[in-house]
Symmetry: C2
Subunit: 337 residues, 2 copies
Amino acid sequence: MFRSADDFLASLEGVPQPDTNAMDLARARQGELTKPPGSLGRLEDLAIWLAGWQGTARPTIETVDVVVFAGNHGVTARGVSPYPSSVTAQMVANFKAGGAAINAICTAFGHRLKVIPLALEHPTGDVVDGPAMTEAQCLAAINAGAEAISDDTDVLILGEMGIGNTTIAAALAAATFGGGGGDWAGPGTGLDDDGVRHKVSVIDRALTRHVSECRDPFSMLQSLGGRELAAIAGAVARARTRRLPVMLDGFIATAAAATLTRANADALGHCLAGHVSAEPGHKRLLDRLDLTPLMDQGMRLGEGTGAALAVTILKAAAATHSNMATFAEAGVSDRED
Amino acid sequence: MFRSADDFLASLEGVPQPDTNAMDLARARQGELTKPPGSLGRLEDLAIWLAGWQGTARPTIETVDVVVFAGNHGVTARGVSPYPSSVTAQMVANFKAGGAAINAICTAFGHRLKVIPLALEHPTGDVVDGPAMTEAQCLAAINAGAEAISDDTDVLILGEMGIGNTTIAAALAAATFGGGGGDWAGPGTGLDDDGVRHKVSVIDRALTRHVSECRDPFSMLQSLGGRELAAIAGAVARARTRRLPVMLDGFIATAAAATLTRANADALGHCLAGHVSAEPGHKRLLDRLDLTPLMDQGMRLGEGTGAALAVTILKAAAATHSNMATFAEAGVSDRED
């Protein structure tokens, strides 16, 4: 666990890099497999990328862990979501009973699912009036994320549930990359145009209130929240120290992870973008992070659902790369030229 | 099996339609599931589509069958591929030994895989000089496809292997939708610009030779070939009579299926486009067929690999749709408005 805000921030400096030797070996292997060179397209790049982070020429994906963090937000009192904040706890119960979309997807693909509610009965502070969390609360949330990673995970997916959290994610995106509420806010779970305009004004007031505090990832998360976003940031930071690949989900998970780049522009080298969500700010975030999403299904549910589906592409990349026969092994003729 | 060319063509008239009652029930169910309306994006449309073809409000995908047909082509004597045609049989051996990309993907996702070589020792005729097949040969190839469908399949994927078959697929695409070799030919397994120019000229000569014979799907397949493309067309046609959903793979599989639209514009209503391949003619084919691919990974390998990966999206669509709890079941509050 991180002992303090400074310890968390220090972990983002001098982060481990991918194993370039393993990547070179993987690149060479790609040229020997029984297929025309390049014919697996992006799967070939993914396999080489994965080789770097796993430190082996033949990477594998056996265990995919999806961890869903839930939090409540004081800002919901300002009417930024069409759903009441009581839905957060109700959805946590739904996750635990196996009834949500992320349950169905994890079951379909054999992913492990962990659900971590974070002090739902104590919403974060209303960010228009003051900080979302105390320093201790923020550190606890970051550590809840860092400690949620199992030892035997091959790929980590971080999901979230929290009524009101697209408002917070938009504020964090603005704090990270500049701009205001109008640049980053969207309909979320289903606001109409008037609702989005109101949401933009709430975000802009929060940004004005906290502009001097948004100096680094920790202070941004403490000021704006929320607990589930801090947990995702903590998990992504810890995953990097372990060289564990992360597949990012949608707007909220990506906004949480993006805060880390304020401490180190290279902080997300171990992250892939699983998909691009229908929430318009997500594409802008991915562009700023120079991440190309693996797919676009028009999803905007969160919970980790987009990444939990898209990780099948990474799994196929590893399976083809590591399990196919070479031309020599299979006795197949290579090109004539 | 189809008893004759006429029997095959007759099967394409008056094809079964999706069950609109099941689709209406599925659409209603989507509105009751514990998620914001529309938040699963295209997965919601896919689930409703699948409900129509399976004839149930809660469709399921348990068994995915991938059937790979292999054939050899006389046109390879004209130097249209950088690989020797002996590679077709070598790759069939590789499929049977489990060493190819499609093996790795099927194993990763639990798909069943069947490999059907079609008279590899007897390549089809050189289409520049004459017909690819006799009527009896073409009917046998179509029936090899129709008879490859298992009774317990939920989704059918048709793959192919055949050195030289992008040349044949381009000729079929031109015969189906018009245009010449230059509109439909691409680098295939890896031709350079000169190679593509030569391929275009070979295709144009074949089209000129067979223009008067390309009246209907059977005559097109008989004239231009090849056995594996005729088998795919036969399987797609038979799947429709059984209302069995098909996920199309790349340029070659799509070109084979597209021939059926010359008999009935609605012949491919039971088909989805799994992906768009890097072979440039594939996007043009999908546009003409009004099919929106589920993903784009820059793949261009064939063997069914793109569809075998993309079917995970359809699987996720069915799993979320049929296995999620409703708001009432989960005790989750719906929107406040």
